[in-house]
């Protein structure tokens, strides 16, 4: 069995003196889709932000491609291929769609950037149509697509998705999940954080359930989905 591309061991994250995450460990095999599910405030986003270098963990070790990246700053991780699609999309509303995309290629040379952007436009034709519009004028679903597309420009080895279905209509959520499925078919490893536990588990290979900052259940996603206890506990959550 090959080593996981990303692994987190004993992660703890504090906000001030509040423990948001306690002793969380998980592994992400290369090419897999791993999901972290749980309620609002369970600590999912804190875990993701610690992995992508936006939060300094209190304890624990994060390993990416065999390197200890626990203390790497965010920009170095993006360059190394660990790219986040943040919660709430965080698109730059006053910049155009095209400018948003080219920011996704901050670390790329101009020559390869152009080709990559065209490639992304092919996958997201709606973004090509709207490339000259201010990103703030896009619909919620289009903004989410832009946020994902922008991350793809950086050619991630591991894509970290934080609540991509948030605030979207069920039909649009379907589209987002279809895009995620496409992305993993290209071989990109995906870590998906979701409140919509059922959807996320249905799409994932492995799942971890977070509850008040700790992992309460984990295992292959289809097993979790069939597990009475997990169903009991989490199907009530949207």
């Amino acid at each position: 069995m090959s080593d996981p591309i990303l692994s987190v061991e004993g992660l703890g994250v504090n906000y001030g003196r509040v423990e948001a995450v306690r002793n969380v460990s998980f592994e992400v095999p290369e090419g897999a889709l791993v999901t972290l599910v749980g309620a609002n405030g369970a600590g999912k986003t804190s875990v993701l932000n610690a992995v992508s270098g936006l939060l300094r963990p209190r304890q624990g070790v994060i390993t990416f491609e065999g390197n200890d990246i626990t203390k790497w700053p965010a920009h170095r991780l993006v360059k190394a291929g660990l790219v986040q699609v943040p919660e709430g999309r965080e698109i730059l509303g006053t910049l155009t769609v095209a400018e948003n995309l080219s920011l996704g290629g901050w670390h790329r040379k101009n020559s390869t950037l152009h080709a990559k952007v065209s490639e992304v436009y092919e996958r997201f034709p709606v973004l090509f149509e709207r490339r000259k519009l201010h990103a703030g004028a896009l619909s919620g679903g289009e903004q989410q697509m832009l946020s994902i597309a922008r991350a793809l420009i950086a050619e991630p080895k591991v894509l970290l998705l934080d609540e991509p279905s948030m605030g979207l209509a069920p039909k649009i959520v379907d589209e987002v999940f279809a895009v995620i499925e496409e992305i993993r078919l290209t071989g990109t490893t995906v870590v998906l954080v979701e409140q919509n536990a059922r959807r996320a588990l249905a799409a994932a290979d492995y799942g971890y359930v977070l509850e008040t900052g700790e992992v309460s259940h984990f295992g292959p996603a289809h097993e979790l989905l069939a597990d009475e206890k997990v169903i009991e506990a989490y199907l009530g959550l949207d």
Partner: protein
Amino acid sequence: MFADYTSLITLIALTAILAYSFYAVLIAGQLSLAQVGLASLAAFTSALVVPAEPLFGFIPPLAIGIVFGMFVGAIAAFILGLPVIRLRGVFLAIATLAFGEMVRIFLINQSWTNGAQGLSFSKLVGPGIAWIALAVVAYWFWRLSGSRLGRAFAAIREDELAATTMGIDVPRYRMASFVIAGAVAGLYGVLLAHFSRFADPNEFSFTAAVDGLVTAVVGGVTLFVGPILGSAFLSVLPEVQRVIGIDAGWIRPTISGVLLLVVILFLPGGLSGLIPRRKSAKRLIADPSLRPTLPALPAAGSELVSLSRLGKSYGGVHAVQSVDLTVNAGEVLGLIGPNGAGKTTLVNMVTALTPPTTGTGTVLGVPLSATTKAHRLAQAGVARTFQQIKLFNRLSALENVLVGGYRITQDTLLRRLLFLPSARRSEREAVAMASAQLIRVGLADKASNAAGDLSYGDQRRLEIARALASHPSLLVLDEPAAGMNHVEAASLSELIRSLAADGIAVLVIEHNVRMMLATCDRIMVLNFGEIIAFGKPGDIARDPRVLEAYLGSSGSDEDEEAASVLASENLAQVAADRDSDQSGHHSDPAPDGETNPEENR
């Protein structure tokens, strides 16, 4: 020996008084640089009224000057405050700085101030008077810090929006802190002029304002002795340097600069932050007999909220469209829907934080309009919690709940200044009521912890306790169970039912559908700003539109299909239990140990 230091000792007191005038605005979260300008106005105008001989033979000239100077300072601060009070942060600082400079330039160009040549004053102030004045000012701020007014200032500093929803009229209190600061600045100006016997308007410059601010900040604003510590430290420092012989022109400012930098970077609470806070100051009072009797809540079933076609749009986007709704005393009304469905916008309109763009509404007799102030609604009996927790993080849990009791307590500052027993009684009653709420939500053992240090779930509970402390008729909870585990969510559910049994109307937003079905009398489901279903929990759980919005529409995946069916059966069962449970209370005691509470169904 002492005589050598007379001047230093006096200046420590005077500088501390100036620092108190900055402290007075800083405790309410504002930064004003007008203080020395106000001081110079007071100083120079006092020269016009201070007589050479005692008035009527017994009122000392200085007393007249002080009263007049404080009055001038307060009035000038009020007039300055009228246009600038709505500015915040850096903008307020710049506007007040400009005012201070304008005063300076104005005074320099007046003949009665003798312009830049300066004006002579009689020497009326020595160390004794300076320290007596300082003692009086410090006493005022000491008594202020534990009063309802002092708590209101602290609440505004920590979170203006949350303070508004406690019923605190934020602009009025900000103005009050401005005027108090102006009076103290006036006192400083008059005392300084009559101590140094000479003043020219250029002494009251930007640099002097910065020095005063620095003194207040170095001392710290978390404790009333801060300004005295700051002044003593900064005044004695050069003296010490002189004595040990390292005061060559540039060394002194270098050392003070470095020290100031160290204090601001490494001592966020200033020097007074080094003093451990007395934990005994506010103890929980658990004795129920000390709680006062509160006015009765509206009779169960009476209509508290009535909305008619209420809507809100931002630009062209409809966050909420045309909602009709009534909420009655004693009922739990649930609001569910996917993220971004408009639930929070709706409750923001009900609590007057967001003005509606269409429709009408009345909440506890107050009509909702563009000009309805949130603190008015809070005064009428609306309390709420926030999706993004808004606690007063640096205040203790008990202090948070005490601020929550603002609506039903009386101000105690004047009585506290006189040490009247009734002030003590009022304070004890307030603490007793606050304690009751902390005990009710299960935070009794964390009363003295800073709110910001509590765990996420405890913060949620504290916010509920704070909201309950205002003895509300209508309680609005925005995602109260977020971050709670199942045992905690179950006990929250019971708490909500017991509040409703007391006669409070509860409007609750929550994602935990299972909990909502078990807790609410009626549930409204929003999606894209529109009501897609409204009714009893049992009907909601079976409604196909709700299932679609919540569980997704695609049914191609078999797992999903199965899960979806299972889910809806589960939910319907929970809801049916709830509907048949007329008392509203769960008869099963909360299970202990590892058992999942849901298994007791």
